[in-house]
Amino acid sequence: MMFDNDEDKFAEWLQHAAKTYHAPRPTPRDEMWTRIEAARIRRVRPWMRWTLAAAAVLLLGIGIGRWTAQQRTGGPAGTPVASADTSSRDMVYQVAATQYLSRTETFLTGFRADLRAGRADTRFPGQARDLLTTTRLLLDSPAADDPRMRGLLEDLELVLVQISQLPAARQRHDTDLITQGMDQRSVLPKLRSAIPAGPVPVRTQGAT
């Protein structure tokens, strides 16, 4: 009995002392969730083929921009470039951004029209996820150096996240929140005014 008592004391002491073993910090929920979503997208959903193509176009634009700048200066990509070369590079990003904005405007217009008509196209969340990937690429590109463009991209990111998370059996309340948010931030008017007049310079497959 003495032995059991001693064992119990040790077990109790050990359980208390061991709380310090690899003591975790608070769970980084949002950081991990963002990466989980990105990883799941990368793990090839059928609709992701289109996104990958769109991302490839954007990255190609970035690559062309860098290459152009490098050719004109004769130096590596990181070398400071003359303002004319910078403009040339930025133009490539702007072309990619314009093409994206045009597609997003078409998507959001269609989304609102469907809501007004009482239709519930189940493809909208998937299409929003496609656009969300490109939004985040653009937010990390020089296209977002312009504060107005960055603000617009951030607004679009929020709206697209909300649409991408719409449940299959959505309630009116779910969609009302999205449209109210769009109206409060004047997302569609800002989006339309950010798209230059005339034809969109780059066109890729899958535009909605």
Binding site: D6, E7, K9, F10, A11, E12, W13, L14, Q15, A17, A18, K19, T20, Y21, H22, P24, R25, T27, P28, R29, E31, M32, W33, R35, I36, A39, R40, R43, P125, S164, Q165, L166, P167, A168, A169
Partner: protein, 180 residues
């Protein structure tokens, strides 16, 4: 919303339900991953992989156990396999070698209980360490551990008992702290 509804909504592709399921379970998954890995970056990787697999395989979940138990089974598989892969690159290997000198020996250069305890737990065989961490630190029951690790409840109890015995031997220098 009860768990069955939540699972059905996730299976139907409901993004909000996915996040709700994640929020309901992520703390315990991350804590377990962190306790076993001892490294934040690894713990995050393991947690992410756990949920990615869980969402992929949710259709195979039959509801015979609680969803948390099923998730913890995935977690331990991911963590233990992951740790095997990174072991040779991980600093912990050096710690294990250092801990070899600690086991059963007289009190040596490292007088700090926290460090000695960590070294002693790290030096446990993986099966003992996993059961000890899950039961004595994270509060899992032997039944939960049995399902998560795919072993009998009795095996879990035996491994815990052996783990404690080894730790008691390793920490003999500190006997005064629990005897009093």
């Amino acid at each position: 919303m009860d768990e069955r509804d939540l699972i059905n909504r996730v299976r139907a592709g409901d993004g909000i339900a996915e996040r709700a399921l994640y929020d309901a379970h992520v703390d315990r998954v991350y804590r377990l991953a962190y306790r076993l890995a001892g490294d934040d970056a690894l713990a995050q990787d393991f947690t992410q992989e756990t949920f990615i697999r869980a969402f992929e395989k949710l259709d195979t979940f039959r509801g015979e156990s609680a969803l948390s138990t099923w998730l913890h089974a995935i977690t331990t598989t991911v963590v233990l396999n992951g740790l095997r892969k990174v072991k040779r690159f991980h600093k912990r290997e050096a710690d294990l070698e250092a801990a070899d000198g600690v086991t059963g020996g007289p009190r040596q250069a490292e007088p700090d209980l926290k460090v000695r305890l960590r070294q002693a737990i790290d030096a446990l065989p993986q099966g003992y360490r996993t059961v000890f961490v899950m039961h004595d630190i994270e509060g899992f029951t032997h039944e939960e551990i049995g399902v998560a690790l795919g072993v009998e409840t009795g095996t879990s109890k035996a491994q815990l008992s052996r783990a404690r015995a080894k730790l008691r031997e390793s920490l003999a220098d500190f006997a005064g702290e629990w005897v009093t």
